[in-house]
């Protein structure tokens, strides 16, 4: 069935059209919505687009960076100032998917996808969302928990912390197919150091629950300590606490629980 495509010059008009129509979906890079249309998803009868330049803006100055929702992974890889986001951006798709897929869309990508959102969760991201109610900033955790109910709202931009050093942010995606494949598990860690001790650790996991989640028990094991072998071992053994992975073709829930601690230990100890 043919769908109606509505293109707006302005993001707030697009947001208005999106919130007014339950069967409307916002088309960013196309890697999620076009896939749904190709599969014959009849719940979509209207596709909303915006050609607004504001959606592709990048502001990489300052301690928190801002990325427009329409920024592609290829754009991130071309920005030297965003080197800390290159590993998560490179872990997604092949070159064509990175030329198309956007960071806004990645927030909606279901497991085993959504690897970039794992990095953003560790970096304490805030999502600027526009709905019928106006524009508001939503912490990424709250956004991801309510993701299924966000369909009528338009993501405008994402801001996140810039790590103080390259060592303070680490990312690891475990996939069976190299160099590209769906995630068995994905891990990201932000480890700010203050006076030799970790202050404000955030560990994020992908494919360990219905949405990306924080490993809070592992964070507690790191907090206020130096990153030594004993601390890393404590964090690794707590990595699976509070997770609820499921079985899929890439790995079983049991396997994911078994390996999450192993990979967190390797991530924290800087092993390849």
């Amino acid at each position: 069935m043919a769908v109606t495509v509505k293109t707006f010059a302005n993001a707030s008009e697009a947001a208005g059209a999106l919130s007014a129509d339950r069967s409307a979906r916002y088309l960013g890079g196309g890697t999620l919505v076009m896939r749904a249309l190709n599969e014959g998803d009849v719940s979509i009868s209207t596709v909303v687009r915006a050609s607004d330049q504001a959606l592709t803006r990048i502001d990489a100055s300052g301690p928190r960076i801002m990325l427009g929702a329409g920024v592609t992974f290829a754009r991130i890889l071309a920005e030297r100032d965003l080197a800390f986001l290159h590993a998560p951006a490179r872990s997604i798709g092949g070159p064509a998917v990175r030329n198309m897929g956007t960071i806004g869309g990645n927030l909606f990508a279901p497991s085993p996808y959504g690897d970039f959102a794992v990095a953003l969760l560790a970096l304490d991201a805030t999502i600027a969302v526009q709905g019928g109610f106006g524009t508001r900033d939503v912490p990424i955790e709250e956004f991801l928990q309510a993701r299924d109910r966000q369909a009528g709202a338009l993501v405008l931009s994402v801001s996140c912390t810039r790590p103080a050093s390259t060592d303070a942010f680490r990312y690891r995606k475990i996939a069976r197919i190299k160099p590209k494949g769906g995630s068995v598990i994905t891990l990201a860690a932000h480890l700010p150091i203050s006076g030799g001790r970790i202050a404000g650790a955030r560990i994020a996991l992908g494919s360990m629950a219905p949405t990306q989640i924080r490993a809070r028990a592992a964070e507690r094991a790191l907090e206020g300590r130096s990153l030594d072998a004993a601390t890393i071992a404590a964090a690794a053994s707590a990595a699976g606490e509070g997770t609820s992975p499921s079985d899929n073709a890439l790995g079983s829930a049991w396997y994911r629980r078994e390996i999450v601690g192993v990979h967190l230990r390797r991530l924290l100890s800087g092993q390849e």
Binding site: V5, M34, V47, A96, P179
Partner: protein, 158 residues
Amino acid sequence: MSKIPLQFRHNGRDVAIFVDGGTNLLVALRELIGDMTPKFGCGQGGCGTCSVLIDGELHLSCLTLAETVAGRSIETLDGMKQGPNLHPLQRAFADNFAAQCGYCTPGMLMAAKALLDRNPSPSRADVIEAISGNICRCTGYEPIINAILAAAGGRASA
């Protein structure tokens, strides 16, 4: 529902078609323009055989809404040969036995062209990365990687 008029450049030639709302670029190319070189594989962005260049950038045509390419330039495998002669990449694919069933070949060639247009002398790792979004179930990839490296080498010495 009314059709949407759409104009773009297809392998250097201006084309004008009418598409239904929601039509993807792959369907527009194959069914409305008659360019059968981009193939339908998965419809999900997983296989890469529908790869085309949009303004020189590698994209998956099955995940591209046709009307978003208005006024843009599309290159497919159909436009790769140079008159009666094969493109050096096509020649290298033939010489290196880089095609068996051939279904992935159009996408592999476009991904390889996107790489060589930006990076004329890629490393082996660059080649592997460049075709990482393209699946081949026959060759085991090695002949394809060798063909792309051979085409790049030939280009460098030419």
